[in-house]
């Protein structure tokens, strides 16, 4: 059986049977919770968010399954091309993208708006997985060898910062760093990088946009401007806290329903959920998220190829960073950065890239027995 799998292509039926069905069932559960949150955010209405959320999810779900059934070696082969294409889109968005709330993040593609920075989070993981797959241990320890993956992280990060979108840039660097860590880069190099970042903070501060500085200052002391920049975080904490253990009931969160809570359909969706369903509901959703991350870890651990292992853990890391940054932000642990909550927040590109990354994860799992040579030319 094993030998057969290694030696020849899987049939469609075999692929279906090899799909990770528990994971596939878990994903719609989160989307349904998202639907309920958006329904409540609209004051008990399917319009304007919940309905479209469902449509997007359905489309994304199909894309996820399609990607899952494509041979993982295809993704291995095309990883760099897709990554470069993403970089081109990022450059394009800096030049011709549409502005919204002071940042240039969207590419208008006629039918829909594309946010290439969201895409970059997935394609960066692919590209790094491919690079590290080919790297031998003795390569990894050579500092010069690391210049390539550092550039792969740095380029999109800088392009995203130019938009400017601090949150996504931080995520790209974190995910990239995580990948390098998994790839075997020495501990002390991370310590060194951390020290360098700390040393360059004053320089970074000088180059931050005004609104970004405001966010950091407001994070440090939300009360300094309760009706201005601090308003979001104060109202979010009030909403969370008033939810208590069991919540104020569906459609009954006064903070959310009376509009004290800003951006409740996007960045602060989890706040609405926690206000109306309490600690119990919020913890349940967090645990569901963690199960997703755990399953990604599990998939990574049982994959036979290094590319597959790195890709699976990269997808898991990316996903958990989304959740962590978003929830830490709305609970006042870190400054307000525009990071949505995957599968629950309203937002097309984020939903699509999340499901695409899940597709890659499933593809790794379907093809977990597949061996991948160091270079595509040997395929």
């Amino acid at each position: 059986m094993q030998g057969r799998l290694r030696s020849r292509e899987l049939t469609f039926e075999e692929k279906l049977r090899a799909l990770h069905w528990p994971f596939i069932l878990l994903v719609p559960m989160l989307a349904v919770i998202g639907y309920a949150v958006l329904y409540s955010a609209a004051g008990g209405s399917h319009e304007p968010w919940a309905w479209r959320h469902a449509v997007r999810f359905t489309a994304g779900f199909v894309v996820m399954l399609t990607i899952a059934l494509v041979d993982v070696r295809f993704w291995f082969r095309w990883a760099y091309v897709i990554f470069v294409a993403t970089l081109v889109l990022l450059v394009a968005v800096d030049i011709v993208g549409s502005f919204s709330k002071g940042a240039q993040r969207w590419l208008n593609l006629g039918l829909f708006q594309l946010q290439p920075s969201e895409l970059a989070k997935v394609t960066l993981v692919m590209a790094l997985a491919r690079f590290l797959h080919a790297a031998r241990l003795e390569d990894i320890v050579r500092p010069v060898y690391l210049l390539v993956p550092l550039a792969m992280i740095g380029l999109p990060a800088v392009l995203v910062l130019l938009q400017p979108d601090l949150g996504t840039a931080v995520m790209l660097i974190a995910v990239g760093g995580g990948m390098l860590f998994l790839g075997g880069v020495r501990w002390w190099k991370f310590v060194l990088a951390g020290a360098l970042v700390a040393a360059s903070l004053p320089l970074l501060w000088a180059n931050l946009r005004d609104y970004q500085r405001q966010r950091v200052l407001t994070f440090l002391d939300p009360e300094r401007d309760p009706l201005g920049a601090g308003y979001h975080i104060i109202q979010s904490k009030i909403a969370l806290g008033s939810g208590g253990l069991f919540g104020r009931g569906f459609l009954n969160g006064s903070q959310s329903q009376l509009d004290f809570l800003p951006e409740k359909q996007t960045d602060f969706a989890f706040t609405l959920l926690a206000e109306e369903s309490g600690f119990v509901g919020a913890a349940l959703v967090l645990i569901l998220y963690f199960v997703v991350v755990f399953l990604a870890f599990f998939v990574g651990m049982r994959a036979q190829s290094h590319f597959g292992r790195l890709l699976a853990l990269g997808v898991g890391l990316n996903f958990s960073l989304y959740v962590f940054i978003n929830v830490a932000m709305i609970t006042g642990l870190i400054p307000v950065v525009g990071v949505p909550l995957p599968l629950i927040s309203y937002g097309g590109t984020a939903m699509m890239t999340t499901l695409m990354s899940f597709g890659l994860l499933l593809s790794v799992d379907v093809h977990r027995q597949v061996r991948i040579p160091r270079y595509p030319s040997e395929l």
């Binding site: 075997g184 008033s242 939810g243 208590g244 009376l258 870890f297 958990s320 929830v327 609970t331």
Partner: protein
């Protein structure tokens, strides 16, 4: 292969480290949620409630002011307002223009409304007019379908149904100013629609009339839009307030004096001190103040040389002239420097050193004693008496009769008048007192100033058995139970003074014989006063200018008359001052007589005037 296993082993180690890190992060998030939602949940629940609920004050209905018989003098009437809500109309400008076609609204007002509506939140109603007539309301209501966003509603407006007749007593209400806001912690004052008492009774009894604010708890959203009312407390409407004034008498006094340019009159009950009427001419319409006055109207009222805004009864200070002579006489009688039989020869002029002081009667009165001196108002007699007793004794007597000090009437802004003493002049003017000044003080000229209400109170104290009544409009039951202190004076002297006042009206040579009451059997006693406002020069006197009828109004003498009735059993005192009215006997005594007649007819005290009449008949 060796290589691959090594790398795999390293990867697995690192993956476990990373996995542990992620688990730790989720643990941290759960901990943070526990902290916010469970540990500190109550605190945030309170804050959320604070956000959600807006407490709104409800303005209580202001208490009415009633006359002594319960007739309303100040009340609240519904006023019809029209307002516009921007978000409810597709085209604000067109809606406003359609409205202006139905009811008159000035183009400037329309612009103001539009500007205000655009600057406020879209759901806030902006007032357009608040003085609609019923016809206008009906017209708007009929066209309601073509006027989206237009709201009709009612507000309570302070109304003074008797207009200028009671303007000075009642005062008026108006919007709260910054100083009032700073001095009063009542949250009502912060409301834009709240009106506070500005003058008169409205001011002195503002707290009583105001009531207690009601509370409405309203659920609001983040923009302040009201979602629904959660709880309501209606508060306490202001108390109705009954005042001592008799509306009918007040109206009579006002109408009787309305022909004068400037005048004042007060009627008091001599035993209780109740002010039954208090009139100040010219007056104004207090309704104009309720909603804020136009700057032009305000300037006009303020700069009017006849001071329509000033309550002349308590703020007008006039030389009392001959109405002061009773005080001079009583001071001398008390000191024993004269007795009622004391006689003085009046040649028409009184000489002190080089100075000459004239009597009003050019040829002089000849020899006369106290009763006739009062009846004929001989100036020379009182020059002599004043000089004998001295100014300080006169001042002491004047104060006991309520002159030269605030009487504490329950209206804001009462003036004290002025009763001079030697000490006062030294302190105030830095000059020693002159004997000549004592002479003129004796006939109520010189420095002496009194208010019409003080004169009425002085008369009351003379005739009520020397009890020191104080005037009031509203009296608490505790105050009513209090006994007035008495002025101690020799009985015989007082009788002579009152007899003199009787002779003024009823005697053969009295100065106010025309003031006899038309009611048979009830006698009036009084005293005329004609007070100079300008010194008469020697040349003018030689030419006889001071007696000419065509003197400029401002230079004419003030006409005064004080009186009480019935003479035998005194009950009411009246004081009338007609500014620049000429002579007291001609200009002030007749209206005072008519006012007294009306007072006796109405007889607010309910005293037994019949008994008094029979006693008078016998006497």
């Amino acid at each position: 292969m060796y290589q691959e296993t090594d790398r795999h082993r390293l990867f697995t180690r690192r993956a476990l480290v990373l996995g542990a890190g992620q688990l730790g992060m989720f643990g941290l998030l759960l901990g943070r949620l526990w902290q916010l939602q469970v540990t500190e949940g109550e605190k945030y629940a309170l804050l959320a409630e604070d956000n959600r609920v807006n407490t709104k004050l409800i303005v209580p209905a202001r208490g009415r002011i009633l006359d002594r018989l319960g007739r309303p003098l100040a009340r609240n009437v519904p006023a019809y307002r029209v307002r516009v809500v921007r978000e409810r109309t597709p085209d604000l400008r067109r809606t406003l223009r359609s409205l202006a076609e139905l009811v008159p609204v000035s183009p400037r007002r329309l612009e103001e409304v539009e500007e205000q509506a655009r600057s406020l939140r879209p759901f806030v109603p902006v007032p357009i007019r608040d003085d609609l007539t019923w016809q206008e309301v009906a017209r708007i209501a009929v066209h309601a379908p073509e006027l989206p966003g237009i709201l009709l509603d009612q507000a309570l407006l302070r109304d003074y149904p008797h207009g200028p007749i009671l303007a000075h007593v009642l005062g008026y209400v108006g919007p709260v100013n910054d100083r009032e806001l700073a001095n009063d912690r009542d949250p009502l004052l912060a409301l834009p629609e709240f009106r506070i008492g500005k003058k008169g009774i409205e001011k002195s009894y503002d707290k009583k009339l105001r009531g207690r604010a009601g509370l409405s708890k309203v659920e609001v959203n983040a923009l302040g839009r009201e979602i629904r009312e959660l709880d309501r407390d209606e508060g306490q409407p202001g108390e109705d307030l009954q005042i001592s004034v008799d509306l009918e008498l007040q109206r009579f006094c006002f109408d009787r004096l309305a022909g004068e340019k400037a005048a004042a009159a007060a009627v008091v009950d001599v035993h209780t001190g109740a002010v039954l009427a208090s009139v100040s001419i010219p007056s104004f319409d207090p309704k104009a103040f309720t909603n804020g006055l136009s700057a032009a109207t305000w300037r006009q009222l303020r700069d009017d040389p006849l001071f329509p805004l000033v309550d002349k009864c308590i703020r007008g200070q006039y030389p009392p002239g001959s109405t002061f002579k009773m005080v001079t006489a009583l001071a001398a009688l008390e000191k024993g420097v004269i007795d009622p039989g004391h006689e003085v020869f009046c040649s028409g002029v009184f000489t002190l050193g080089n100075a000459r002081f004239h009597c009003w009667k050019t040829g002089g009165h000849g020899r006369l004693a106290l009763v006739q001196a009062i009846a004929q108002s001989c100036d020379v007699y009182f020059y002599d008496v004043a000089l004998r007793v001295g100014v300080d004794a006169i001042a002491s007597m004047a104060r006991r009769f309520g002159l030269g000090e605030r009487l504490g009437v329950d209206l804001p802004g009462e003036r004290p008048g002025l009763v001079p003493t030697r000490a006062w002049k030294r302190e105030r003017l830095g000059e020693p007192w002159q004997k000549g000044e004592t002479v003129v003080t004796g006939i109520g000229q010189g420095f002496v100033l009194t208010t019409p209400l003080q004169l009425a109170v002085m008369t009351a104290r003379l005739c009520n058995g020397l009890r020191m009544v104080r005037p009031w409009f509203v009296r608490s039951p505790e105050a009513a139970a209090e006994e007035w202190p008495r002025i101690e004076l020799p009985e015989e002297g007082l009788r002579a003074v009152l007899r003199g006042m009787y002779e003024v009206v009823n005697g053969a040579r009295g100065t106010a014989r025309r003031a006899k009451l038309p009611i048979e059997g009830i006698a009036l006693a009084g005293k005329t006063g004609t007070s100079q406002v300008k010194r008469i020069t020697r040349a003018e006197r030689a030419r006889g200018d001071h007696k000419r009828k065509d003197k400029p109004w401002r230079e004419r003498d003030h006409a005064l008359f004080v009186c009480y009735a019935p003479y035998a059993a005194p009950r009411y005192a009246v004081a009338v001052v007609v500014e620049h009215g000429g002579s007291g006997s001609k200009a002030a005594a007749p209206p005072a007589r008519d006012i007294m007649t009306r007072t006796l007819e109405i007889n607010p005290s309910g005293a037994d005037l019949i008994a008094a009449r029979s006693r008078t008949a016998r006497g």
